[in-house]
Subunit: 354 residues, 2 copies
């Protein structure tokens, strides 16, 4: 089959790789109908060392189940499914606690499993999905194709934006700031709106993204790029009080500091931007200011699988539509163009079709 | 009147200072019946530069109102009152949000107010209490003297231990770890027990403090001092899962790291130990581990005033008794002995009587 392989910085190729087959009795074999490129795929895309063999990549996909292992009970051939951005068994203590991202048996697409065996990436024609009962979520057969972008967003960015809002404790009537106007930030706006925020201040320097933020429910825009000035503008917009909930949707030190700076005393910061520079970030948590203002810093890898039962019905009902974050659709064969477009910020998020 | 003055490291004196009088129409004049020494008083006690004039100190007291300013409506002469460890107006946005520690007009006892004017410390015969309506909480006249230690604990340590438990999201049935067996840690145990924790693991190296922890509801003890080994023991006690809630009640980098290390994925750390070494602490927040495990780090200056309406009825009803944290009672004139006893750890917490 064909799948993307990352051979080094800026070097994505679509190549022939071995066809996946059922390996474990808990596996499902999925024919991918829609996949996409994530902001987090851009880091290895920008920095990976040269590798002749190439490395599988991609972790968001929709598909149709082709075959299942003997121990798979909840998923059957012919089912249409969403795959969240990590696989998980759904039965361990952490999964039962609502944290499939910490599943004892789970892991990431495109990497090695706990036994050192390859797990397919999501950008390919087929995927062997481990722990299928815990991982995959069925979509009704009758769902129309127009919902595919919204459903695909549930595999990662919408779950991640929702996670930022949940961890930042967005409540009905809340005043919210969203730092970052990429796909996750935009989904954070949408999630805050869905959770009833009265005021959503988007820190959105890009005109095109601000238009989408506004469509998703943002009420106020802070346009400046300078983070200290942006924080000052948020404080001005809130009469010096600060926001109840700050969503950090970038993963940079600057974004985290901005989110912390704009939260009111007793407020919460939900951070979901995968830390780009962990050493720098580690040094950037201003614990003194957090202590004095009783801030809550909360976040991490979004448990997208755990949110699917909550978010999927809204997408199916048409009341939640993160689909517009996809502003470019390309065939899998042109994945390299998609990476380039996202790296150059000419696209927010790229959807890949077979 | 007589009050404690800190003249430098290890140099506490009880000296004659000007009698306080009503200054602002929102003031009350309080005759102190009980005050005490806080773990946080020990830092300036251990490190203050020499000062001929001396600096007022102390921020926990019970007393009887002697006089009130013309704008005081809720407190009257003769009232018995508890003073929380900061004063606050009770009316600003932050106070209404439940965060009197961030009150726009409020501040600390023993320091300067927003206008640079002295605010009395709590260790003295009298205190001018600013913003009396917002700050002071009345205790029923008929309350017996045996409740005084428990009531005094509500001014700071019990509110702070409760804050750690609240910020760490202790829920009925929860598994909890409490890092630190000082007065705040012990109150954290008591608070977790009151909130319904099923299992409370006290990291308590001191035998005498462990006995009190057990009396307060601790179910398991980790005795070792080494923080890595203590964290490993907590993980062993929880079958490798970690605790739902970790209470950091010390304020050191080591204690914070231990609390973070023992929290389960999706767990919360409530930190209330006033940071002793902020620079070090700033560098100590392991954001990568927190991101991967979806930890919530939450805490700060306890809003003791905001908790009083919740905690006071339980103390009056006899169902909550943090009084035993006071294990030494001295007259104000012997305050220096009290500081020494706490600094040398021969006393957990010292109560001062006039």
């Amino acid at each position: 089959m064909r799948a993307t392989l990352l051979h080094g910085a800026g070097d994505i190729r679509v190549s022939t790789v071995p066809d996946p087959t059922l390996r474990d009795p808990t596996d499902a074999l999925v024919r991918v109908t829609h996949s996409c490129i994530c902001g987090s795929d851009l880091w290895p895309y920008k920095s990976a060392p040269e590798a002749a063999e190439g490395r599988r990549i991609g972790h968001e996909f929709l598909g149709v189940v082709e075959a299942v292992g003997s121990e798979v009970a909840k998923i059957a051939p012919g089912d249409r499914v969403i795959a969240p951005f990590m696989y998980s068994d759904g039965t361990c203590t952490h999964c039962r606690n609502g944290w499939p991202t910490s599943c004892i048996a789970g892991g990431f697409w495109g990497g090695d499993d706990k036994f050192g065996r390859l797990v397919d990436g999501g950008q390919g024609e087929y995927v062997r999905a481990p722990l299928a009962d815990g991982t995959l979520v069925r979509v009704p057969q009758e769902t129309g194709p127009e919902l595919a972008p919204a459903l695909l967003a549930l595999s990662d960015v919408m779950g991640t934006g929702h996670h930022a809002a949940v961890m930042a404790r967005v409540r009905p009537g809340a005043t919210v700031a969203v730092v970052g106007d990429g796909a996750v930030g935009l989904c954070g706006v949408l999630a805050a709106h869905r959770l009833g925020a009265a005021r959503i201040i988007a820190l959105s320097p890009h005109d095109d993204r601000w238009r989408l933020a506004e469509q998703f429910g943002a009420t106020d825009r802070v346009e400046v790029r300078d983070s200290a000035e942006a924080a000052a503008q948020v404080r001005d917009l809130t009469a010096g009080i600060g926001v109840d909930s700050a969503l950090e949707c970038v993963g940079s030190r600057q974004a985290l500091e901005t989110a912390i700076a704009v939260a009111r005393p007793g407020g919460a910061i939900g951070y979901v931007g995968a830390p780009q520079d962990l050493v720098e970030l580690r040094a950037s948590v201003p614990l003194r200011a957090m202590f004095e203002r009783n801030l809550t810093l909360s976040g991490g890898l979004a448990p997208a699988r755990a949110y699917l039962p909550d978010l999927l019905p809204d997408v199916l009902a048409g009341s939640l539509d993160p689909g517009p974050v996809f502003d470019l659709t390309l065939p899998l064969a042109s994945a390299a163009d998609g990476y380039r477009a996202m790296a150059e910020r000419t696209a927010v998020k790229v959807l890949l079709t077979p």
